[in-house]
Point group: none
Chain length 254, copies 2
DNA sequence: CGCGTGTGTTGCGTGGGATGCAACGCGCGT
DNA sequence: ACGCGCGTTGCATCCCACGCAACACACGCG
């Protein structure tokens, strides 16, 4: 739409392939050298390109700073909330959103079930970390040493007979979750409550949040709830895409 | 230099602070809405900005991939990383790697004392340039006129009573650092935190990066931290040798 | 229901600004 | 010294980015 801006921005992916000198840039853009020079200068003033000692241009570190700042100021909750509501409207059950922080998993958003029977939870409340579906999703993405260290340090309270009993079992469960890209909690916290969950991923592919649908089995059986899994995963993926900003790189959708 | 490009690029840091709608962007740029719209559209076509459901704009995924590639072009980082990890494992404290670019000093790698590398964590943040040990090391190596010009232009915020107060003091400090080949920050940024750092040099002897070890003095006293200095210097020298080895010295001119 | 108000969007004429050209400075290799 | 390949600069031309005004659309309110 805007010619000069369009040209200037075309320089960036070009430099991403490696440093280039003025002539090369001008050639690839199909413009005169002086034009390329002026574009590069404006990019330079904004720190997006850097001039190395041999006068060749390469991408600048300000790009890095911008990206960094952007993710810090982006709230997953804001982008996720409408999706959570939509999911709740289509299936009727309680929907949760959670993040991992400082060795704890916290609910940061919740849309209540439309059924009379509700499960108890509260935004900001720590999640039972060894059994909740969202907790498994978030911990499964931690770097291996940290995951292991954390698993060893946890308590494994036996809420029910199906609760995760110890660190070894937990680590096996996390491996499975990591593998399959989704998680469940089938009566592990409260005998009559089941959950299915899926991860929300950031621009770098790391899990930044997890969402889940929960329902007591007086309303739906575990099997019926599992039938919702594709829907939950699609929703989580939609949130990921929007959070990351329409990721063109489709990586690892196993 | 190039008006429209200049305006378009000014939008990026603006959006890094958080999502904004068309009107807000136009206002902050001081241009008509239609102009802002065209600029945003061009940015959008290149994937640098993303339009979320409520029509507000935010930074897009393309920026993140570019940032990724930008940092990958910093080859010092690859060479240094294993050494940083080793240093961290032997002393347990936080280890930083930083470079100077375009009148800014940026962290490009970090190893946390508690857990292993988090790629996007705090890396990319500009360093408090007047007090950080790594900043002193990098600026001390600038050619004299540039160093002086930069020093005059800086602000000297008094983070603590030990912060560098003004340009004159800063230049004296840089001279000392240049002389001795290492640098410290003893509570200059945060009262309770000390750092010791050493330079990484390229094949031509110029400082291409700087590394440091940081620790709060509730863990180790400044004196104990200084005891690590030989270890830090040895590590930095090892990186320098390896880096000089991987990059054939094209320019032995000096 | 109509109206007012707040968005985002479009078409268009105009002139400022981006463009390409040619000339220049400079370092380097022969 | 000379030519050659770079990056850089001043300048005249004309394109294209600009602001304007009108439109489209969704709300909220009387």
């Amino acid at each position: 739409m805007s010619q000069s801006v369009d040209r200037a921005l075309s320089i960036l992916p070009l430099l991403a392939r490696g440093p280039a000198d003025l002539g090369a840039v001008a050639d690839e853009l199909g413009v005169h050298k002086s034009t390329a020079l002026r574009l590069l200068r404006t990019l330079h003033e904004h720190g997006l390109v850097h001039r190395q000692r041999d006068q060749r241009y390469r991408l600048g570190a300000r790009l890095f700073t911008l990206a960094q700042e952007a993710v810090e100021n982006l709230d997953v909750r804001d982008v996720a909330h409408p999706h959570l509501v939509a999911l709740n409207e289509s299936c009727g059950h309680t929907v949760h959103l959670a993040v991992y922080e400082e060795r704890e998993v916290l609910y940061i958003d919740k849309v209540e079930s439309r059924y009379p029977v509700r499960m108890y939870s509260r935004i900001g409340k720590p999640v039972p970390i060894t059994v909740a579906a969202v907790a498994k999703l978030l911990l499964a993405d931690l770097p291996e040493p940290e995951r292991r260290a954390l698993a060893e340090r946890l308590d494994y309270p036996l809420y029910t007979s199906r609760s995760t009993p110890d660190a070894a079992a937990f680590l096996r469960e996390l491996a499975t979750v990591r593998e399959q890209g989704w998680a469940t909690d089938l009566g592990g916290h409260e005998e009559s409550i089941n959950c299915v969950g899926a991860p929300v991923k950031g621009p770098d592919g790391r899990v930044v949040a997890a969402m889940s649908v929960s329902a007591p089995n007086v309303v739906v059986t575990a099997e019926e709830l599992l039938g919702l899994l594709p829907h939950v995963r699609r929703t989580a993926d939609a949130v990921s895409r929007e959070y990351a900003g329409t990721t063109p790189s489709k990586e690892a959708t196993a």
